[in-house]
Symmetry: C2
Amino acid sequence: MKIARFRSGSRTAHGVVFDDEVAEIRGSIYTSFRITDTRHPLSEVRFLPPTDPGELWGPGLNFVDHLEYAGSVFGQDAMPVPEKPQPWRKGRNALTGVNDPIIIPKDTAGEVHYEGEAVAVIGKVCRRISVERASHYILGYTCGNDVSERSWQKDDWTFWRAKGADTFAPVGPWIETEVDPQQLDLLVRINGEEVQRCNTSDMLFSFAEIVSYISQQVTLKPGDLVFSGATGVTRAITPGDVVEVDIPGVGVLSNPVIAEFEAGQGK
Amino acid sequence: MKIARFRSGSRTAHGVVFDDEVAEIRGSIYTSFRITDTRHPLSEVRFLPPTDPGELWGPGLNFVDHLEYAGSVFGQDAMPVPEKPQPWRKGRNALTGVNDPIIIPKDTAGEVHYEGEAVAVIGKVCRRISVERASHYILGYTCGNDVSERSWQKDDWTFWRAKGADTFAPVGPWIETEVDPQQLDLLVRINGEEVQRCNTSDMLFSFAEIVSYISQQVTLKPGDLVFSGATGVTRAITPGDVVEVDIPGVGVLSNPVIAEFEAGQGK
């Protein structure tokens, strides 16, 4: 089942996607709901990030084929294979939805990169849960782009702006509740050209392991988002590009790239 | 004026504190409100964290007399004097209020320390504001405790649990709107014994400078919290302690320290 959050006119609602329609629901996507007869063609709604998360989490380095590149970002040799997740908080301010623009800040040196990832959506309050139980606390999976400014990533002590500037966290288009999260193909295209292809079976730490690990010290709440981590080598995106994160069986997260204007954000 | 958020019976409200009473308000603390005739004795309400922040920010190292100690936490020499703020995100899950317990996780090695700080409360949406304009976007100031587990701070790549575990961010008791934020005495007492005394005039970066700096890449929103950074050398707190962060002219943030029980949190 594909659960979406969308705006129709001035209203915001959750719904279930069927082919070319979305049917509004009554109730909570986290507890129980029923599907209503109110349906909208997909072309007539604006999809929002599928939840309003309290926190967005990255797992730290989570794919072996990203270790050498990650080291080079810091001007170092390949990073060592991590022995545990190294979670970090991505900014809520950065969250944006499918088809919304990724805005390149006017004071960057052109080093804004995509990172196509799968994202787990927490469905229940969880604290000190085991790896074995973790899947019961995950509602489903969506697509995410961990947009990253490489020069800030190198220069700053934290990822606060390198991965946390406004619009640096596109997530969507919806939550798929019936997939095997460790068998997902993960593709990125820039202007239609494939620039990344991997599979979540290569994650060093599974979603269940990451969620369990974070929950040992942090209460995770419904709607919180946990990214998979990035793979391979990335490249810069520039105004005019369209970036697509495609997870077959889940959906396609497409975002145009624009430049920040002197007078403010957006057009 | 002292603006508080509190619970009375099953209701949550904002109010203005007068001597030994709090008067409920109608309206928004961020735009405009009026004071009503509904008053409660302070002893009969439970104070909550004064806002529901979208983000909690630390500034990085911000007092010269903390540099040597901060280095020692990482097993290094004194940290260099930072040339810019190095912001980081403290966990929203960690937020807790005055008189609520700081819970020592059962899997720490006893290295949970206090850090008494002043905290700016954002009052308006701000993005790319100047240092000169920043004070117009700050509603007021409160007390905060940047509780920190030193062994995790050393072992992890990020502060996700060292400064972000549940209950590691006590904030309160209320927002004082009429103080000079760079002339605040800042005292910490453990069980009545003074263990920290400093003044916000010694901050390397003022609140206005930190808020302006973060706002260059991040949209700050009403209720967001910006900590001052810590001073000096700290020491561990243990179950049974009471920690007070006292900012004369603002208020006293008092929290008992308890141990996490095997079966879950709290009593």
